[in-house]
Amino acid sequence: MASCIDTLIIGSGFGGAVVAARLVEAGQKVTLLERGAWRETAALKDYPLTQRAPLPHGKYFASHLLRQVSVGGRLAQRKVLNTNGLFDIHYDKGMTSICSSGVGGGSHVYLAMNTRPLLANYWDNRANGLSADNMEAHYQWILSRMGSRPAQESDNIVNLVPQRLGHHPALDTKIEQPALGFRFGHTYANNAFLGDANGHKVTLDSLLLAPLLTKGLTVYAQHECLTIHKQQTGYRVEVFDHREQKYRFLLAKRIVIAAGTLNSLRLLFRSQALGGLAHMPALGKGFSGNGDVFAIWQAGTKDDDFRTGTPTLGRFKLRGLPDSPMLYALGINGIDQIPLLPAFLRRSAKSWLALVGMGNDEANGRVTWRNDELHIDYQQAKNPILAHIYHAFDLLSQHDKKRVWFLPQRAITVHPLGGARVGNHQQDSVINAKGQVHGHRHLYVSDGSALPAATGTPPSMTIAAWASHVSQHILSEIKNHEAHI
């Protein structure tokens, strides 16, 4: 009989890496599957890792930018372009989602903002035994591990929002600036959404995973989990090893699903459709795009250069707009890594800021499974935060006399959340307050798909806090089990 893995974690982003770290640091042996490769960054240079993939910088830009493109709905299909590519794009009529792959997951491409949800009571009344108070310790744990703090004047960072945009009459920059998971004091370039090869952005591969490889953590990179089947004891997991181009089959006593919202939903839907997991009536309910809206704004003059700085330069609100949404600004940081870009475009891009609006949408989207692919039904009209952010961008345009470009017809998110959300009852939730899939004591969900609502801010710390919370329940289950034998 194949040996049975005690705890198998699927995915290595904020949901998976945190559970792995918490369990291994508590003395458990953990196996982690990640469909992407270890990335080639300076932060990992001292670890003996094989087959690292470069970030899509310079000559690797075209070949390593995209991993997979998928389309939902009637035309459902999915095409893998390069298993070492960084981004997945899922196009759907309701919403287009972008996510990343690689050991460390979204930590490579996020903007290093380590924030809590907009609402202080985000976790209250979601499920029995869950509250903002008891989640606080988990936020503190991850913020401490990330070394998070806001940028300070002594860091000598140019282009921070309070300094560069503080004079703008339409903008309120005197708001709390986000803490950053960033190693300050080095260079401040090429560190944003295309990944930071210099290793200054704190990523989970170097912070949590690689240091634990000699302490009980086994990472199978480029192993994509395809289905989960409940067996008499434990679970059988079907995996494709992209490195060896072969299928593998593993047995696990306990599984933690943390493949990123869309991939976790794919895994759950496919396993359900094939009879591997029992019917989950609420699977796909409560999907949110976190109110993401993207824009570009020619904020500076031709003498300004916003390309250097931290991954995000900070956030601001609009004066005169009641309940202004939080708008996050970043320079077109990383543009120097795109080869063959016309010089005029490179010149003009340096004075532009990319803006990301975020807010609490209603988390009323619905993901379904059709033709072996996800289909996202998300209606902008039923999520007024999007119109509010569009209005904010329009107002900014009017005040500034410079156009803010965005796409109001199309919902795009880099923060898909929900679909396997936490709750008390099987009819409206997939997992309970401990992170266990209803009816499955040893199957957990610890990533963004578990979140009960939009966070309205970058959700990485909330996902990490949830994962930390789930890991404590896993440890408690293990302890109880050991006490019984």
Binding site: A2, T83, E238, H242, Y247, F249, D372
Partner: protein, 165 residues
């Protein structure tokens, strides 16, 4: 592997799998329960025959699909509690190739299997070297391994699955 490699992002179909992959899958399964099999005739599909294991995956799948057509005269198996037989030709279901059934540990991985021993007097001598192992893939679906017993040991010849018509 990178750029233009063949990629698989949906569930594996059994016909796609090579012998070493089927062996790994087989080793994760629990033994078949004779009570679930007995009293029925089961339709079989031959998978990954020994000679085809080095074929490129699309050709392997094509061969597996071909073997599932009536061009392959083997139809499947029937089970009673202690004996069973192979059935040939879909229309007439001719029984040929009997076996004794027991439960024992697999010589390959040491875990329990339903053991099919063709070394019975009713069989011609050529068939008596066959040993089968059956495990449960999912409810009502079984995965089996066909071995050939030689003086040097037991060699896997092919896998097949069994399910109701």
């Amino acid at each position: 592997m990178s750029a233009l490699s063949l990629t698989h992002t949906t569930r594996p179909r059994l016909g796609h799998l090579r012998q070493d992959e089927l062996a790994e899958l087989f080793s994760t399964l629990a033994t078949a329960d004779i009570n679930a099999l007995a009293g029925h005739q089961w339709h079989g599909r031959l998978l990954a025959p020994f000679a085809a294991q080095y074929l490129p995956r699309p050709l392997l799948f094509a061969l597996s699909a071909l073997l599932a057509t009536p061009l392959n005269p083997w139809y499947g198996k029937s089970f009673e509690h202690q004996v069973g037989a192979n059935h040939w030709f879909a229309g007439i279901s001719l029984p040929f190739g009997e076996y004794a059934i027991s439960t024992q540990n697999s010589p390959h991985d040491g875990a329990p299997v339903l053991w099919l021993d063709y070394n019975v007097t009713a069989n011609p001598s050529l068939l008596r070297a066959i040993r089968g192992e059956v495990r449960t893939l999912s409810e009502g679906v079984f995965l089996a391994r066909m071995n050939w017993q030689t003086a040097k040991g037991l060699f896997c010849v092919a896998y097949f699955n069994l399910q109701a018509d």
